[in-house]
């Protein structure tokens, strides 16, 4: 069972199109995996739509007639062609299924690179920024304790990891504001996550602090 979901506030902003495309991607992927949030979003859509379109402005009749004519005489737009969606990713000889929201942007997935601590990452290129990454932690891996100048959203695609606060499994969505520090780690099981950051990580403990000047190379 999925234990952690985006807040209703995030789902409303998602539905209204008021979040970064990159955060929309992470939330959309959670919704693919989570029938509870899929239902909530349906309700939110109905409500938001009603409110957005509940009253009209005065509309000049001549404008109506002109626009109606133009529209009904316009030629049909070309069917939207989309690249075939990415269905799975391969890493360390393992195959992971990719939910459709991520799959639709699969062509933006960059190459894997290794990060200290048995961690791999592959950036998803959303408008030239690399603030969404697939992050793979092998079993028994850890990311040094870190904090963020901004926020962090993590979605578990497969496997499980733990931090100081809890254990997280398939479909769990964790959103941390800038005041939180945590050090994610895996135990017996490996873990593939989709992670969004709005600012580079800041490592907070011991020798890992030395990584700070380079953290943007790893996670952004």
């Amino acid at each position: 069972m999925i234990k952690f979901h985006p807040t209703e506030e995030l789902l409303v902003k998602y539905t209204q199109g008021e979040l970064d495309a990159s955060l929309c991607l992470v939330i959309g992927t959670h919704i693919d995996m989570c029938p509870v949030c899929a239902n909530t979003v349906k309700d939110i859509e109905e409500q938001v739509a009603k409110r957005a379109l509940n009253s009209g402005s005065r509309f000049a009749n001549t404008d109506i007639d002109n626009m109606l004519e133009q529209i009904m005489n316009s030629s049909a737009p070309e069917a939207m062609l989309r690249e075939p969606a990415l269905k799975e990713v391969m890493l360390e000889g393992k195959q992971f299924k990719v939910p459709p929201s991520l799959g639709r942007l699969g062509s933006r997935l960059g190459p894997w690179s290794k990060v200290p601590g048995s961690v791999w990452r592959a950036p998803v290129d959303i408008e030239g920024q690399h603030n969404v990454n697939l992050i793979y932690m092998a079993a028994g891996a850890s990311v040094p304790e870190h904090t963020h100048r901004g926020s962090e959203a993590t979605l578990v695609l497969n496997g499980s990891f733990a931090d100081e606060f809890d254990n997280y499994g398939d479909g769990d969505f964790i959103y941390l504001g800038d005041s939180h520090r945590h050090s994610p780690q895996t135990a017996q099981e490996d873990c593939l996550t989709l992670a969004w950051l709005d600012a580079p990580l800041q490592f907070t403990s011991g020798i890992a602090r030395l990584l700070n000047p380079f953290s943007s190379l790893f996670f952004r």
């Binding site: 199109g17 029938p35 859509e45 402005s57 626009m67 989309r82």
Partner: protein
């Protein structure tokens, strides 16, 4: 103050007052969309346009604060409604919701085009509303909880009396209307309705007792 050019206002502008528009039901708007999809009905589209265009314009003006951009959004949205009405399906939501999601996507793309970025993600990638080849099958694999839920419900549903179970199956699994079930099983519509109501009541009892 008493020299407001009242006549001119009523003749030149269409005013959509809430009391008047509440009479336009979801079912009616859905029927208009179906007419546009099935027969390219210009009359049905004109009605949809008169209902939605002023609302879209008010929405877009609030969003952009710019009348020209707002009108572009109205035109783009309604052009999609005209050409893509066949993609609307009442099971997924109301006509208002569908048209809102089209407008939401267009707004999202307009706001990003203004930033002149290369290789932008399009709203349609994030929220596919108008893609023809949308198939739900690929999504099933990921809704694991749903499968478990369906299995559980399956057990409850086997506990229903045959007469109720058959009706529920035709409506909720095969997606038939109550009228169609009534015709096919040759039982009165009232009976279909009462069996549905009783079955749902029973299922609800079983599910809540289980929790």
């Amino acid at each position: 103050m008493h020299v407001m050019p009242k006549n001119r206002v009523t003749r030149e502008y269409m005013n959509t007052s809430p009391s008047k528009t509440q009479e336009v039901t979801t079912e009616y708007l859905g029927k208009l969309l179906a007419d546009v999809a099935n027969t390219r009905s210009r009359r049905a589209f004109s009605e949809l346009f008169k209902h939605f265009a002023p609302r879209l314009q008010a929405f877009a003006t609030r969003q952009f604060g710019n009348e020209q951009t707002a009108m572009d959004l109205v035109q783009d949205t309604m052009t999609n409604v005209w050409h893509k009405a066949h993609l609307f399906s009442p099971e997924k939501g109301s006509p208002t919701t569908w048209i809102f999601t089209i407008a939401r996507n267009i707004r999202f793309d307009i706001l990003r085009k203004n930033k002149h970025r290369q290789n932008d993600v399009s709203a349609e990638d994030l929220w596919p509303v108008l893609s023809e080849e949308m198939s739900d099958s690929s999504e099933e694999d990921f809704a694991l909880d749903q499968n478990i839920l369906m299995q559980e419900i399956g057990e409850y549903y086997r506990q229903l009396p045959d007469a109720q179970r058959i009706v529920i199956e035709q409506i909720y699994v095969q997606g038939k209307s109550q009228q169609e079930v009534s015709d096919e099983l040759d039982i009165p519509l009232g009976t279909v309705k009462s069996r549905t109501r009783l079955a749902l009541q029973k299922l609800k009892e079983l599910i809540t007792a289980h929790d």
